[in-house]
């Protein structure tokens, strides 16, 4: 009797436990639904007030000043400048570090270098923002005195430094996955290590490296605190990196520092920009996953 009772109790526990962990798993799905719902419901309200054509073609962005202009292009050029500048730093340095770690570094050196990259990756972006403002900007101004205090260049260098570890570790994973038999085959044909890296390892891991680049650029687009601190707050339709600019994320933070009320045009503007940011980063992330998947099926 007692054993029957115990078994029944175990079965009930089993059912309860299973439902609880199932509910926990559904939280991630609910989060996705909520994100999409909140972004688009507010964005629809925004586009009732502002024409889509103006939003995507006008080069003036003054949503809080009279006369109000809602041209997103200045924010887009600002975001683009930061992303491109960050890539110019992060892609070569990240890839170089990855090749070094995967192909050249002896085990003991790897053991030291990997944690250093992890520490760099773990430093909050607010710290990089401070670093950009107090160290990188003065350095730039020594070389180019006409640079403004807040400028795109300084922020993009800081963002670039911040995403080096990400590029390095993702690319390194891709290179580590290349089987040694390929390397040894090339050595047997008389290749030097440089030949092996350039003609065997890189081509074999190119999809993983490409997806690492895309993910890193997507991170740079979504980066907020560095640009809020170091890039300035002036939405300019310019491609001059020495000027003060504003990115999409920078605008969102600046306007939220004041208390924005639900139902105002400012509030809806933040959500419209948020939707654009969300669509941009999401499509890049999906693209990055696709590239890797395709390649895996190809092998």
């Amino acid at each position: 009797m007692e054993r029957k009772e115990a078994r029944r109790r175990a079965q009930i526990t089993e059912k309860i436990a299973k439902s609880i962990v199932f509910v926990f798993s559904s939280i991630s799905v609910i989060t996705t639904i909520l994100v999409v719902y909140m972004l688009f419901s507010e964005t629809i309200v925004f586009f009732k007030e502002v024409s889509i054509v103006e939003f995507f073609t006008s080069t003036k962005w003054t949503p809080t000043l009279q006369p109000r202009n809602f041209g997103v292009l200045p924010l887009l050029t600002g975001t683009l400048m930061i992303a491109i500048g960050a890539s110019i730093i992060a892609i070569p340095f990240g890839l170089g570090s990855a090749i070094f770690l995967s192909e050249y570094a002896p085990k003991r050196l790897r053991k030291v270098l990997k944690p250093i990259l992890e520490i760099l990756a773990g430093i909050p972006s607010i710290v990089y923002g401070f670093f950009a403002l107090t160290t990188i900007t003065p350095l730039i101004r020594v070389v180019l005195p006409q640079t403004q205090i807040f400028n795109a260049l300084s922020a993009s260098i800081a963002v670039g430094i911040m995403i080096i570890p990400m590029v390095a570790s993702l690319s390194e994973d891709a290179m580590m996955a290349v089987p040694d038999s390929l390397r040894n085959g090339a050595y047997a044909l008389g290749s030097s290590q440089l030949d092996v890296v350039l003609k065997v390892v890189l081509p074999a891991s190119i999809s993983g490296i490409g997806s690492a680049f895309i993910l890193a650029i997507s991170r740079a687009i979504g980066e907020t605190m560095i640009v809020a601190i170091a890039a300035g707050q002036s939405p300019m339709f310019t491609l001059n990196p020495l000027e003060s600019i504003q990115t999409m994320t920078g605008f969102m933070v600046n306007i939220s520092m004041g208390d924005i009320q639900h139902g105002t045009i400012e509030y809806n503007t933040v959500f419209a920009i948020g939707s654009l940011l969300f669509l941009l980063t999401l499509s890049m992330n999906i693209l990055a996953r696709r590239i890797v998947k395709r390649h895996k099926e190809g092998i």
């Binding site: 526990t13 962990v21 926990f24 607010i126 390095a168 969102m252």
Partner: protein, 294 residues
């Protein structure tokens, strides 16, 4: 067109050896750049906070005068927020991982759909999570701009990371241990609580600590949720307004006066000490339990 074989068939000549050397040094310089930057960054933070980072700074409230300003309220706010975030995110994250790894059929559509969701959520910029927090917790559920709203927002932000690292930890549990448990008549839940979780807890904790220390440095989502800039009181309950270390630092960096740069640096030093300590704990945990079954 040369064949692939011909492309690879080369001779090791002297110019080639020199080229190899040069390439090696180029890579070394690229790798060392990161190490150098980390060094410079730590040096500037320590230099700028020199003389400002003291007991008075840690135990004082923020102030309009730099020499009296302290980080006490932000420190407490961070501790409250992060504690609450850990309380929510570790059980939910580990629970989700248990469901995906132990309960659901790995090949089922539902499992794949949830996995896809998690990897998409991991790529969403943190500021968008802040907007979600503002919409759902601050407005819909009317928790207002409180510690609770902030912690729930951070929970959603780091859940994907915790889920993925917990899944890896659970996957590393040896199959024969699980099978032994089933063989003596244990139910699935008894196996999970008796075998799977005890074995994977270090891995789950390592991933969680790293994720939570990331949440500790996040400012953007909390600004969206409206963590106030100037809080000169101790938090008493989870429904209080609050500020955190990164937000306090952000406020100080945006002030024009020179002294506030030093105060900001002192705040950063405190934040970095916290992060280094928690990362060290995570790394020690990982190394201690890495090779248990050998």
């Amino acid at each position: 067109m040369k064949s692939y074989y011909e492309k690879l068939h080369t001779y090791n000549t002297k110019p080639k050896r020199i080229l190899n050397r040069l390439f090696y040094f180029l890579l070394l310089i690229m790798m060392m750049f990161s190490v150098f930057v980390l060094g410079v960054l730590l040096y500037t933070v320590i230099r700028d906070s020199w003389g400002w980072f003291d007991w008075q700074f840690i135990t004082s409230m923020p102030s309009r005068k730099a020499e009296n300003a302290g980080i006490y309220s932000a420190l407490l706010g961070s501790i409250w927020t992060i504690g609450l975030t850990a309380l929510f995110s570790i059980p939910i994250g580990a629970g989700t991982a248990v469901y995906l790894e132990e309960y659901s059929d790995q090949t089922s559509r539902l499992n794949k759909f949830i996995q896809l969701n998690i990897s998409n959520l991991a790529g969403i910029p943190s500021i968008v999570y802040g907007m979600l927090g503002l919409t759902v917790f601050v407005r819909m559920l009317s928790f207002d701009r409180s510690i609770l709203s902030g912690a729930l927002t951070l929970t959603l932000l780091i859940l994907p990371v915790i889920i993925v690292s917990s899944q890896e930890a659970i996957r590393s549990v040896p199959k024969n241990l699980k099978e032994a448990s089933f063989a003596v008549g244990m139910t699935r839940w008894q196996t999970i609580t008796g075998v799977v979780l005890p074995f994977s807890i270090p891995g789950i904790l390592t991933g969680s600590i790293l994720a939570i220390s990331r949440a500790m440095g996040e400012a953007a989502p909390l600004i969206m949720v409206g963590a106030a800039g100037y809080v000169a009181f101790k938090p008493e309950s989870i429904f209080d307004a609050f500020t955190t270390l990164p937000i306090q630092i952000f406020n100080w960096t945006s002030r024009p006066q020179e002294e506030f740069q030093h105060i900001a640096a002192a705040g950063i030093l405190l934040l970095l000490i916290f992060l280094l300590v928690s990362n060290a704990i995570a790394i020690i945990l990982r190394n201690k339990y890495q090779n248990r079954i050998d």
